[in-house]
C-alpha cells in the first residue's frame, strides 16, 4: 500500500490532464476521467489495508532551533475511508461538470486534481506541520475554482473564503511553533507523547483552542460559518460538491486525528463547549436553511447543520460516536455531493438558482427528479440510507452521555431537515413550471452515470454499513482515553435514574 504513490498520483494527474488534453472540453473530460479512475483504482484498496504508515523522512530541520519536521504519511480507518470517498467523488464531479464549466474543462480538471491531492495529503499526513501545510494548500485551488467558474459575487465569496480560512488557521500555525519548540518535533505520535510533559496546562489549553479554531472554521460552525454559504453558492456547483463533500469533513477529521489525540485531557474538559457549539450549529443551520430561497444556500446550510451534529456527537467520545461520525462523513459526503452536482446541472437549465424559478421538474425531467429526490431523502436520513444509520449512532451516543432532553434538541434536526429539504424538493419538482420558456431537458447519460452510483452506495451502506463502522472501530478506540470515563459515567447515569 504505497501511500507516497497515492499522494503523488493526483498531482501527477493535475499536470498530465493540463498538458495532455487539448483545449476542447471533450478530450479534457476523457483524459481527466481516465486519470481519475486510475487514481481511484490506486486509492480504493487503502480501505482494506487498515493501519499503514510510510517510513518517516526528515522534511527539514529548522536551523538554530533544531526542530525536526518529518515527511510522514500514515493511514488509519478514517483517513482510508475519506480518501476512498474522495477518489470516488472526483470522477463523479468530473462527469457532472461539463455543463457547468463549459470549455474550460481542462483547467477545471487540473484544479480538481490539485485539490484532491492536497486533501489526500491532509488525510494521510502523520506530521503536524505536514498536515497544516496540506490543510492550507487546499485554499488556493479552491479559491481559484470559485474565482474562475463562480457566479456574480464570486470575487467577494473567494476573498471571504480565503481570509476566513487563513485567519482561522493562523492560531494553529502559532500553536504548531509552540508545540514544535517544546517537543523538538512535529511528528504526531511523538508529540502526543511529549506534549503532556513538555507543556504546562495553561499553555496546553491555549494551544488546544488555537488548533480547534482552525477546524471549527473549516467545518464550519456557527458563528464562524459566514464564508460557507457564499462560497458554496457562488462557486461552481461541482466544486462546491467537493468543498462540502470532502473539505468540510477534514474539519471533523482534524478533531479526530489531531486535536483529541494530542489533547485528551483538554478535550474531555471542554467537551461540553464543543457539544454546545455543535448543537447550536445544528439548530441555527437548519433554521437558516428553512429561510433560504437560493437552492445552493439551502444545501449549504443543511451541510452546516448535519456536520454540527457530527461535532456534537464526536465530543461524547463514545465508540459508537466515532463510527457514527465516520459514517456521517461518508454518507453526508456522498449525498451532499450528489445534491450539489444535481443543483449545478439544473441551474444551467434555468440560468437561475432561485428555488421559485423551477417547478414541475418531476414531469419535465423525470430522471433528474428521481435522482434528486433520492439524494434529498438520503440527506434527510431516511432509514435505508447510510445517513440514517449515522444519525442514529450519533443520537444514541449523545443520548448515552447527555440524556434524553439534549438528544431531543439534537433530534430536532430530524424534523427540521425534513422540513427544508422537502420544501426544496417541492419547489423544484412539484407544481407548474415557473419559467415555461425554458425548454424541457433531462440529465445526460454521463450525468446519470456520475450520480446514480453515489446513490446506490448510499442505499447499500444504509443496509450494510458494517465495513465502515468496523474500520472506525478497528483503530480509533485507542485514541479515546476519555471514552471509558464517559462510559462509566453513563453507567452511573442509568443507576442514578
Amino acid at each position: 500500500m504505497n501511500l507516497q504513490l497515492i499522494l503523488a498520483a493526483p498531482f501527477a494527474a493535475a499536470i498530465l490532464s493540463f498538458f495532455l488534453s487539448g483545449n476542447d472540453a471533450k478530450s479534457a473530460l476523457r483524459t481527466s476521467l481516465v486519470l481519475a479512475l486510475v487514481i481511484a483504482g490506486i486509492s480504493l484498496p487503502l480501505v482494506g489495508a487498515g493501519m499503514v504508515a510510510t517510513a518517516g523522512h526528515t522534511w527539514f530541520t529548522v536551523p538554530v532551533v533544531g526542530t525536526e519536521v518529518k515527511w510522514l504519511l500514515t493511514s488509519d480507518g478514517v483517513s482510508a475511508w475519506l480518501v476512498a470517498l474522495l477518489s470516488v467523488l472526483v470522477p463523479a464531479v468530473l462527469l457532472a461538470a461539463p455543463r457547468v464549466v463549459g470549455e474550460r474543462m481542462r483547467e477545471f480538471a487540473s484544479l480538481v486534481f490539485l485539490m484532491q491531492g492536497f486533501m489526500v495529503g491532509a488525510m494521510l499526513s502523520g506530521d503536524l506541520l505536514l498536515f497544516y501545510a496540506f490543510f492550507e494548500a487546499m485554499l488556493i485551488p479552491a479559491a481559484v475554482l470559485i474565482a474562475l467558474f463562480g457566479g456574480n459575487n464570486r470575487r467577494r465569496a473567494a476573498i471571504v473564503f480565503l481570509v476566513f480560512s487563513l485567519v482561522g488557521s493562523a492560531p494553529m500555525f502559532f500553536a504548531i511553533w509552540w508545540i514544535a519548540l517544546s517537543c523538538q518535533t512535529t511528528e504526531l505520535s511523538v508529540v502526543a507523547v511529549r506534549i503532556g510533559s513538555q507543556l504546562d496546562p495553561m499553555f496546553r489549553t491555549g494551544l488546544f483552542f488555537a488548533i480547534a479554531l482552525a477546524f471549527l472554521v473549516k467545518l464550519p460552525v456557527v458563528p464562524l460559518h459566514l464564508w460557507q454559504a457564499d462560497a458554496y453558492s457562488e462557486g461552481p456547483a461541482p466544486a462546491s460538491a467537493l468543498l462540502t463533500g470532502v473539505m468540510a469533513k477534514i474539519g471533523l477529521f482534524g478533531f479526530l486525528r489531531i486535536l483529541i489525540p494530542l489533547f485528551p485531557a483538554e478535550s474531555a474538559r471542554f467537551a461540553g463547549v464543543f457539544v454546545a457549539i455543535g448543537l447550536v450549529t445544528v439548530l441555527v443551520g437548519a433554521l437558516l436553511a428553512l429561510q433560504q430561497s437560493d437552492l445552493r444556500r439551502v444545501l449549504a446550510f443543511s451541510s452546516l447543520s448535519h456536520l454540527g451534529l457530527g461535532l456534537a456527537a464526536l465530543f461524547t467520545f463514545r465508540p459508537e460516536a466515532i463510527s457514527g461520525v465516520l459514517l456521517l462523513m461518508v454518507a453526508h459526503g456522498l449525498s451532499a455531493a450528489a445534491l450539489f452536482l444535481l443543483a449545478g446541472i439544473v441551474e444551467t437549465w434555468t440560468k437561475s438558482s432561485h428555488v421559485d424559478d423551477f417547478g414541475a421538474l418531476a414531469s419535465r425531467s423525470p430522471m433528474f427528479a428521481v435522482l434528486f429526490s433520492i439524494a434529498a431523502l438520503a440527506s434527510v436520513g431516511l432509514p435505508g440510507t447510510a445517513g440514517f444509520v449515522a444519525e442514529f449512532l450519533l443520537l444514541v451516543s449523545i443520548f448515552k452521555v447527555y440524556g434524553v432532553w439534549v438528544t431531543a434538541i439534537a433530534g430536532l434536526t430530524v424534523i427540521l431537515s425534513a422540513a427544508y429539504t422537502l420544501r426544496m424538493v417541492q419547489r423544484l419538482l412539484y407544481g407548474t413550471p415557473a419559467l415555461p420558456a425554458v425548454e424541457r431537458q433531462d440529465l445526460r447519460v454521463s450525468e446519470v452515470f456520475a450520480i446514480a452510483p453515489i446513490l446506490v452506495a448510499l442505499v447499500f451502506f444504509g443496509f450494510y454499513p458494517s465495513p465502515i463502522l468496523k474500520s472506525a472501530r478497528a483503530d480509533l478506540l485507542t485514541r479515546l482515553p476519555v471514552a471509558q470515563a464517559s462510559a462509566t459515567e453513563d453507567a452511573a447515569h442509568v443507576a442514578g435514574r
Binding site: 536551523p63 483547467e107 501545510a133 494548500a137 481559484v144 470575487r155 476573498i159 487563513l166 485567519v167
Partner: protein, 512 residues
Amino acid sequence: MLPAVNLLPFIGPVLFLILGALATLVAEPFLGKHDKHKFLPWIGTIAAAMSGVALFFTAPGHLHGVFALDPVRAGLLLVLLVVLVLGLAALQRNLSSDGFEGGEPYVLLQLATIGAALMVMATQSISLFVGMELMSLAIYPLVGMRRKSSESAEAVLKYFAMGAVFSAVFLYGASLCYGATGTVGFGGTIAEGRAGVFNLGFVLMSVGLLFKIGMAPFHFWSPDAYTGATSGTTAFMAGAVKVGAMAALGNLWMNFLVTRAGFPLNSPLSLKVTIPPMLFYQMSPEAFSSIKSMAVLLFGILGLLSIAIGSLSVLGQVSVRRLLAFSGVANAGFMCLGFLLPSLARGYIDLSVTWYYLAGYALATTGALAALSALTGAGDSGDHLPALSGAARRSPLIGAVLTVFLASLAGLPPMAGFVAKFQLFHGLLLNVFSGLVQGVNPVSLLAIPGLALVLALVSAAAYFKVIVAIWSQPGQASREPDSVPVLLGWAVTLTAVALVALAIFPKHLFGA
C-alpha cells in the same frame, strides 16, 4: 573559515557572465531591430546556464580575502542566475511589445547580475562597494529606459539621487570601519578605543545596504522605481538587488558579531558559521550591549517597522508592481528579523533561515513580476487590477504560475514561502525563550513574532485580491490573448516548479 583558492575555477561563474555581457554587447549592433529581441536574450540565457554549470565546479574558498565562495554563496549565486534569466525573458517581452530598438538593456541586465554576484561574494568593503556600484549603475539606466514616459524619468531620478547619496554613506562608513580595524576586510581586530568608530562605521554601512534592500525608512525609492521601470526590469531588480544586498548585509552582520566578540579572524567567514559559545560568554559587557542594541534597533525595530509599512501599504494598491514593491519592503523586514536568530547564548551564528527565505522570496517576487510582464502588454499599460482581471483566463499557464508565486509570497504552502515563514517565526519564538541576548525582556520579543504574523496575514489579503482578480471574469479593460514568448513561458514555469521543489526539499539548495 575558508581556505585560499586559486583564480580560475573560482572566478568561473562570473567569467561566463562577463563573456555573455560582452558577447551581447558585440552582437547588438549587428542585428536587425527585430532580431535583437529574438536572439540577444538567448545569449544571456546561455551564459547564465554555463555559469550555472561552472558553479558546480567551484570549491569553497576565498580569493585574496576579497571574494569568497561557500555553499550558501553558491546557492545564492544560483538564485541570481535564475533571476537573470527571468529578467532577460521578461525584458524581451517588454521591449518587443514596446517596439524598443536597441539591445543595451540585455547587456546592462547581465552586468547588473555580475555586480550582484560580486556583492554576494564580497568579503571586504571595497569589493562590496564596487559590486554594489556595478549593480546600481547598471540598473539606473534600466529604470529610466522608457524615456517617453515621465513616470520612468521621475523613477530614475529619485532612484539615482537616493542611491548615490546612500552609496556615499556606505563608503564613509567603510572608511570608518577601516579606520577602526586597519583593514578594509569586514572581519578584523578593533584597535583599542576605536569601538565607537567601528560601530558608527557598521551602522553607516548597514544603512547603505538597508537602503538597497528597501528597508523602512530607507524604502521610499522602491515603489516609484518599481512602477517607473518596465515590469521586466522591476522583476530583475526585485530579485537581484535583494539577493546581493541581503547577502552582503548578512555577511557584514556576522562579521560584526565575530569582530565585536574579539574572535581572531585571519580569513573571511563563510555565510554559515558556528562559533565556540564560550567566546560570547567572555565578551566584554559593552561589546555585548552594543551588539544587543544594534540587533534590536537595526533588525528588530526597523524590521517590524518595514513589515508594518509594507504590509499595510500593500492593501490599497491597484498597480501590481507597486503592490510587489511594498511587499518587497515587508519581506525585507521579515528577512532582517531573521538576523535576530543567531542566538548568541547558544553560540550560533547561523543565518540559514534568512538565506532560505531570501532564495524563496527572490524566486517568488521575480517570477511574479516576470509572469506579470506577460500580461501587462505594451508600456505595462495593463498593470492594474481592473485590466488584469480575468487575465489568467487568457493564458492559464501564466495565470497558474503567477498564482503560485503570489501564494508563496503570501506564505501559503506548498511553496517555499510557507516553509521560510515557519522557520523564521519558529526561530524567533525560540529566541523568546533563550533570550536574544541576555537581559532582553522576553515579552517584548514575543511581540515581534506575534505582530509579524498578524501583519503577514493582513498583507496576504492583498495577494489574494490579485489572485482572485486574475482568475475571475475579464474586466472592462480585457484584451485578446497575448502570445507568451518561449523563453518567458519556460522560465516562469520552471521557476514555479523550483519554488515548489524548494519547499519539498528545503535542505538541498545550500548543500546542507
